[in-house]
């Protein structure tokens, strides 16, 4: 069976999930298409390498497929997928292979010429912010990525992290305090016009 998430023949997500849960792989493809960008981007933010991110994103969708029968179809799929990718990316980050890959990449990046002119000021500012966030603890990074980089609501962020909304708010508040301090001390360019 072919499924299409676009146009008038659009099937709602829960119908596709039900088909997928009955073993229909064709129903899984449009769901992957619909969510692959968010899943890949979160993996990329956590890991910092597109190849690693692609591997983890693919693994996350396969893992989700294997456990789709346990999924409550009344819930949105995206928070669950992002929750899986968060765990997978974190585990990969901890692995020795990942450590070596990071060293290799760092060497590669250092030796590569950087053409600053090609980067718009906006892109550079965003890169600086990303670097600043990477100075935070892993849990702080995760919540900042979900809420501000992927622009998830507090409710969605709570679903991904499997905590209460109030917990998300308090954790965000503390993470923002720490991030603000890092920006003030190490990334003053990001403070301009804000921290007067």
């Amino acid at each position: 069976m072919n499924f299409d998430l676009s146009g008038e023949a659009r099937l709602d997500e829960s119908t596709l999930i039900r088909h997928a849960a009955s073993g229909d792989a064709a129903a899984w493809e449009p769901l992957v298409l619909a969510h692959q960008e968010a899943v890949f981007r979160l993996a990329y933010l956590i890991l910092g390498d597109p190849d690693d991110a692609a591997d983890v994103a693919q693994e996350a969708f396969l893992r989700a497929w294997n456990h789709i029968k346990r999924f409550d179809t009344t819930r949105p799929l995206r928070p669950w997928l992002l929750s899986i990718v968060t765990n997978l990316a974190r585990n990969r980050f901890r692995s020795a292979g990942r450590y070596l890959a990071t060293l290799t990449r760092a060497f590669r990046n250092d030796s590569a010429p950087v053409n600053i002119e090609e980067k718009s000021a906006q892109h550079l500012e965003a890169r600086e912010l990303w670097k600043a966030v990477q100075s935070l603890s892993v849990p702080d990074q995760q919540i900042v990525y979900l809420r501000y980089f992927l622009d998830l609501s507090v409710n969605e962020t709570a679903q991904v992290l499997q905590v209460a909304e109030g917990t998300v708010k308090s954790r965000l508040s503390r993470a923002l305090e720490r991030l603000r301090g890092i920006i003030r001390e190490e990334f003053p360019v990001l403070s301009e016009g804000h921290d007067a």
């Binding site: 992957v32 396969l62 294997n66 456990h67 892109h123 965003a126 923002l176 991030l179 603000r180």
Partner: protein
Amino acid sequence: MNELEQELFEKRLISIAKGLDYPRTPDIAGSVTTRLRPVTRPRFISRKLAWSLTILLILFSSLMLIPPARAAIIEFIQIGIVRIFRGTPTPPSPPNEGLPSTMIPLTATPGPTSQPLIPILESLAGEMTLEEAEQTVDFPIRLPSYPPDLGQPDRIFVQDAGGDMAILVWIDHQQPERVLMSLHFLPQGSWAIDKVEPTLIKETEVNGQRAIWTVGPYPLRLYNGDIEFTRLIKGHVLIWQEGDITYRLETDLSLEEAVKIAESLQPIEP
């Protein structure tokens, strides 16, 4: 930071973060779909295939080689990847006739008088924890919730048989040398399995779906491409299919009990 400052800071973060130049999202859907599609295996014997074959020879119960069944085949029943042939009746010979006493056929779930299976399990490759098995195979592993005191399997094996095949084994704790029950998960693309003329074939249902109950002894033919082996199976086997998985439950229990076990399969609690 007061509430207003935090709100302004959050807005600024979202605004800046939108400018991040992410790499182009790769074709993850294509890769995932490819990996979900059953793989067509070449017909030559690779090292991997040979290894799988070795494992299967042990797995299918250290059964003894018997002459190939040559009965004229007129019809068969198929459940998932398991095909049960009904051929022109051939005079059944006593199961152990002509075999040395040290070569008594065994099933993965031998009867009380059979040889202990534990040494065979010890020689099986691919043993892992249940958690590792869940992460290895591309299908959900489900466990029986009946009988209520069954508990988790004692031994878990995952082996490459053209697709990752999972085998769960429960040991009889009253007689630790004896296997109580084994449950096989056979995904599409695994080795094709023929059962040729079991002593008894009975159609039944598992969760309203057609299932087959066979009672040995009978020859079991395994094949993949040009390779074919025939073994003798002794025991009761319930076979049914759900989704892309063919389930094979070996047990000494009755048909009614086997169906209850089959219908009690539940996803593993996280």
